[in-house]
Structure formats: structure tokens, C-alpha cells
């Protein structure tokens, strides 16, 4: 690597930049802005992806409101609420992980990423408990769905189809997130990031916050329809 020291910021020569800076960028600020924009564009496609679910949910909910209320009131609000708190807390630990990266505090990045990982695992364990109860109660649409309570079983099954599709897709996102956190932990451990190159951590943070956002809407829409009986 030949280094002409004046270069980097403007009009640099070909190899006159650190490994992590790609050739096509003038400086790290430009590269970071590009990475940030790219991540947001990906999240835009994710918004449209989940948007389809929310659209279908809204239309069938207005069609079969009473059944959706019955289905919703059969969900465990306590577990749903606990998961909301777990995800929100994991979002704030993730925000702190990014902050630690900005400040270049390796140990803090590791601690906050591990906390985020643990909270994500708590979410998945809760989800597993919820799903296995539904399996046990015979509420898996198309598999063992049998509605014995009041109401129209057919359209209540529709509610559960939305419940499983939406929480399932969301849960898959959490699961992918957990794998990515492990990958990030390894990279941080290997000292791959610096105070000017931490875009992977920041972009993962954006992804994780987006997953939190989806849940923020899923929780009231699935668990709290038609009011809570207290």
C-alpha cells in the first residue's frame, strides 16, 4: 500500500485508503452515507413486504370483526406485553451498542450486543411458548385447527392465519437478527471496526429497530382488538 499523505479526503490515488474504505468513495463520510441510504432502501422494501400483511389483515378484520375479537381475546396479552417490553429494551441496548461503536469502546459494544442478543432470545422463547400452547390447543390453521368455543370457527381460523403469518414472518426476522448479532460479535471481537468504520453495526441497528417497529404495531393489532376484559 503506497501512501501519499495529502490525498485521502479529496482526489485520492487508487490505493490510498484503509482496507475498509471502498475504491469508489471519496471519503468515509460519503461511504457511510451511501451505506446508510442503502440500508434505508432495503427497509423500504421491508415496509412494503409487511405492508401487504397489514393490508390483508385490515380488510379481513373489517369483514369479520367479531371473529377477530374472539381470536384476539384468546391470545396471551401478558406474554405479548412481555415481548413488547423485551423488544423495546433490546432496541435501546442496540442503540447503546451503536453509540459505543461511535465512541470506539470495544468492551461496551460487546456488552450491549450480548444484552441485545439475550433479549432477542427472550422474545423467541416467549414466542415458542405461545406457539406451543396454540399447537396444543389445536389452533394451527390448516394443520389441527378446531374451534370449539363460541363464534364462527372458519373466520376465527382466518384470524389465526394472520396471527401466524405476521408473527411468524416477524419472528423469522428476529431469528435472522440473532444470527447477525453473533456475526457482529465475532467481527467486533476481531477488532474489525473503528470509530470511522462501524457501518455494519449501525446498519444492523437500523434493521433491529425496524423489527421492533413492526412489533409495536403487531402487538395492539393482534393482542388488543376490541378491548381487554379485566
Amino acid at each position: 500500500m503506497s501512501v501519499s499523505t495529502e490525498a485521502a479526503a479529496h482526489g485520492h490515488e487508487v490505493h490510498d485508503h484503509p482496507e475498509y474504505m471502498r475504491h469508489q468513495f471519496d471519503d468515509m463520510e460519503q461511504q457511510n452515507d451511501a451505506a446508510n441510504l442503502g440500508m434505508w432502501l432495503f427497509l423500504l422494501t421491508e415496509v412494503m413486504f409487511f405492508g401487504g400483511f397489514f393490508l390483508g389483515y385490515s380488510i379481513y378484520r373489517s369483514e369479520y370483526y367479531d371473529s377477530f375479537v374472539i381470536g384476539s381475546q384468546n391470545l396471551d396479552v401478558f406474554l405479548g406485553g412481555l415481548n413488547t417490553v423485551a423488544l423495546i429494551t433490546s432496541s435501546v441496548t442496540m442503540a447503546f451498542a451503536v453509540r459505543a461503536a461511535q465512541l470506539g469502546k470495544k468492551n461496551h459494544i460487546l456488552i450491549f450486543l450480548v444484552l441485545t442478543l439475550i433479549l432477542g432470545l427472550v422474545f423467541m422463547v416467549n414466542k415458542y411458548i405461545e406457539y406451543s400452547h396454540k399447537l396444543h390447543d389445536g389452533l394451527i390453521p390448516g394443520y389441527n385447527f378446531l374451534w370449539t368455543g363460541l363464534g364462527d370457527g372458519q373466520s376465527i381460523q382466518l384470524f389465526y392465519s394472520f396471527y401466524f403469518c405476521m408473527t411468524g414472518t416477524h419472528g423469522l426476522h428476529v431469528l435472522i437478527g440473532l444470527v447477525l448479532i453473533v456475526w457482529l460479535l465475532i467481527r467486533v471481537w476481531q477488532d474489525k471496526f473503528t470509530t470511522e468504520y462501524y457501518a455494519p453495526i449501525e446498519n444492523f441497528g437500523l434493521y433491529w429497530h425496524f423489527v421492533d417497529l413492526v412489533w409495536i404495531f403487531l402487538f395492539p393489532l393482534l393482542y388488543l382488538i376490541g378491548g381487554l376484559a379485566v
Binding site: N36, L44, M48, E196, H209, I216, P220, L224, G227, V230
Partner: protein
């Protein structure tokens, strides 16, 4: 390599002072207090949304729940996702996401609502 690293650092420092485009010079680093405040607000709003669900609000239950969720979403987007301090093109991408989502939802809703406005032609 060391010399180089030093240089990059220097270049960034110079960039800060330059004041070229917008407010995006170096990353915005929020304070811990800021994050903890947003965190508290999100927890309080979660509690409020569960509490509101126990109230008899009639048809207002869902709009209230969605309004609270939207406030939470805005807090997450602006502060945790740093959109407030992001460059213009990123804000545009975020606005585009919301814009297209609204097109998807609103136009389809009007289609469904409009279907009952007149009798279907024979055969529908």
C-alpha cells in the same frame, strides 16, 4: 499504515470544520440520557396502550391504539434510528417508505369501501 491512519483522522477533523453540506459532519452521537429518556417514553406508552385497551372507547379503541403505536414508531425512527440527524437522501427514503405504504393501504381501502356504494352489475 500508522501514518495513514493518522492522516485519515486528520482529514475527518478538517471535514468537521468545513461546514459544506447540511448538518451531517461525522456521526451524530446521542447522549445516554437521551436514549434512556426515549426508552422510558416507549415503556410508558406501552403501558398506556394496554390501559387504553381496557377502556370502553367504542369505535375509538383502534384509532387510539394506532395513534399511540405511531408516536412510539416516530420516537424509534427519529432517535434510535437517528433519522433526525441523517442526511437528506436518507430522510427522503424514509418518507418514500411511508408514502408508498399509505398508497398501498388507502387506495385499497377506498376500493373496498367503494364496492358497496352501488349494486354490482349482473354476474358479479
Amino acid at each position: 499504515m500508522t501514518e495513514h491512519a493518522k492522516h485519515v483522522h486528520h482529514a475527518e477533523g478538517g471535514d468537521q470544520a468545513e461546514g459544506g453540506h447540511g448538518n451531517h459532519h461525522g456521526p451524530h452521537i446521542a447522549t445516554s440520557a437521551n436514549y434512556l429518556f426515549i426508552f422510558t417514553a416507549l415503556l410508558v406508552l406501552t403501558a398506556v396502550t394496554v390501559w387504553a385497551a381496557t377502556m370502553e372507547l367504542g369505535f375509538l379503541n383502534t384509532p387510539v391504539a394506532m395513534a399511540i403505536a405511531s408516536v412510539k414508531a416516530i420516537l424509534v425512527i427519529l432517535y434510535f434510528m437517528h433519522l433526525k440527524f441523517s442526511p437528506g437522501q436518507t430522510k427522503l427514503a424514509a418518507a418514500a417508505a411511508i408514502f408508498w405504504l399509505l398508497i398501498l393501504l388507502i387506495i385499497t381501502f377506498f376500493d373496498y369501501i367503494g364496492r358497496t356504494w352501488q349494486d354490482n352489475p349482473p354476474g358479479w
